[in-house]
Amino acid sequence: QTAICYNCPVEWADWGTQIAAIKAKTGVTVPPDNKNSGQALAQMIAEKASPVADVTYLGVTFGIQAKKDGVVTAYEPANFKDVPAGLKDADGNWVTIHSGTLGFMVNVDALKGKPVPKSWADLLKPEYKGLIGYLDPASAFVGYVGAVAINQAQGGTLDNFGPAIAYFKALQKNEPIVPKQTSYARVLSGEIAILLDYDFNAYRAKYKDHAKVEFVIPAEGTLVVPYVMSLVKNGPNAANGKKVLDFVLSDEGQAIWANAYLRPVRQIALPKEVEARFLPATEYARGKTIDYGKMAEVQKSFSDRYLKEVQ
């Protein structure tokens, strides 16, 4: 009884708990998988003739792309109807399961007394040299989200990535670390002091791993992004895959996300103590949504430009 999920890493978004719950409630084993969104999509395309995965978890733009590439198939899990339009594919090729807000995940200890940065502009200050990390915008979805967030904050649009490119160029002076994979642990170890990452990861570090970590929503504004799941077309264990999708959209599955400081897509009440640990709503007001379809469309041209001009 297994269902293979691409891009379900135990150290991310508390998939560890989710996987355990799925096993307990549905009997389906989901082996952890440490790809990022880009890797997952590429692998699915390569394996299109005979897929290995049954379900996949992707940043929204990759979900849209996956549909275009024809590697996922329509499935409307239980509670599909509760998901607001715009956060799901009309046919059910992908559906949001939770969202997150991008910001700075800061290991305060690793700053060695330097102030916690408050804005995108702060990151360019020389005092943060060598302290910053962000995931590869050309590969990981988080990386791309960061780029779009920066672009919007710096006055760009999805048609004009000039500001983001300029910002990344300027940021290179601070010698950032640019991994391709989730780097949660490196923040905890202090290897990376400031990582562009989601709120939920930061809260987990702070409250579960008791690290001296703060989450910052940059002053110039940021992006809220949905994470989606899809059923893989012709997956080997489609039935099990469906069970997984059903579960993550169930009350119980959604509650697990909530307990892990993710915003579940369905309107379920957050537990009080969890609610209290989020930054105040006023801060979250700076988190914007965007046309994710468009965002998916321009991703390739941005990646190309980024690779050419920044690297």
Binding site: A138, G190, S303
Partner: protein
């Protein structure tokens, strides 16, 4: 069959894909980086590896075999471990950073740049060079060196006229393997996520970022061809060296 598939792949996207390395400056530089890095690593590895190999082969001391065992141990390490080692050594929280911080020089971080990549490549190349040279030095005919000594040679002339000359075939063979390994090294570069892009990473990016298999295959072919050509030259050179013996 897989090889044929690999060769045929780029054609799906038009024949010019084959020349991606030549036409796209990004890939071109990536290839140049890879070549330069591999060549430098090869040269430095040979020098250091030869020195250590020869030393261990000629100097009997307690623990000699154990030291050799330890030094050649990383032969079995996956590239990822070595990338990680460099982070432990030269990362922000690494040993070098701590020492330099204590010395008041700030946190010196070299893991993610060219130096890190260089050191990592050196790390996985050295064991091979050391073990190869150790074996070769043990097999060296002591008479040649003794002949040189009896003629008054001492120090550097012996290194030049006896060691280097006698180890030339070993050096060529070893250089070829090290160079090829360095050209294809992926795990290490992947772990270090270095700012310096090497061709295996470019291939990986082409693959994962846009699922662009055609380009990935074309780049692989280019990398393979370049490496194979260098190996081929090495073998030709080796044959001519052997002829003088």
């Amino acid at each position: 069959m897989p090889a044929a598939r690999l060769i045929a792949l780029p054609a799906e996207k038009g024949w010019q894909t084959y020349f991606a390395v030549l036409t796209d400056s990004h890939y071109w530089w990536s290839l140049v980086n890879t070549l330069l890095l591999s060549a430098t690593v090869t040269v430095v590895t040979l020098v250091l590896g030869a020195a250590v190999g020869i030393f261990l082969a000629r100097t009997p001391f307690v623990g000699n075999r154990i030291l050799l065992g330890i030094l050649t141990l990383p032969l079995s390490f996956p590239g990822v471990i070595i990338g990680f080692f460099m982070i432990l050594l030269g990362g922000r929280q690494g040993l070098i950073a701590q020492v330099s911080d204590d010395l008041g020089l700030g946190r010196v971080t070299l893991a993610y740049g060219l130096p890190g990549l260089f050191l990592a490549y050196l790390y996985f190349s050295l064991p091979r060079a050391i073990s190869t040279y150790h074996a070769a030095a043990q097999a060296m005919d002591p008479a040649l060196e003794e002949a040189a000594c009896s003629l008054g040679a001492q120090g550097w002339p012996i290194v030049r006229d006896v060691w280097i000359a006698e180890l030339a075939p070993t050096t060529l063979a070893c250089a070829a393997v090290i160079f090829a390994t360095a050209m294809g090294a992926f795990g290490t570069a992947f772990t270090l996520a270095s700012k310096v892009e090497v061709l295996p990473i470019s291939i990986y990016n082409a693959f994962t970022n846009y699922a662009d298999f055609a380009t990935a295959a074309a780049l692989s072919l280019s990398l393979g061809l370049v490496t194979w050509f260098v190996l081929f030259l090495g073998r030709k050179l080796d044959a001519s060296v052997m002829e003088t013996r």
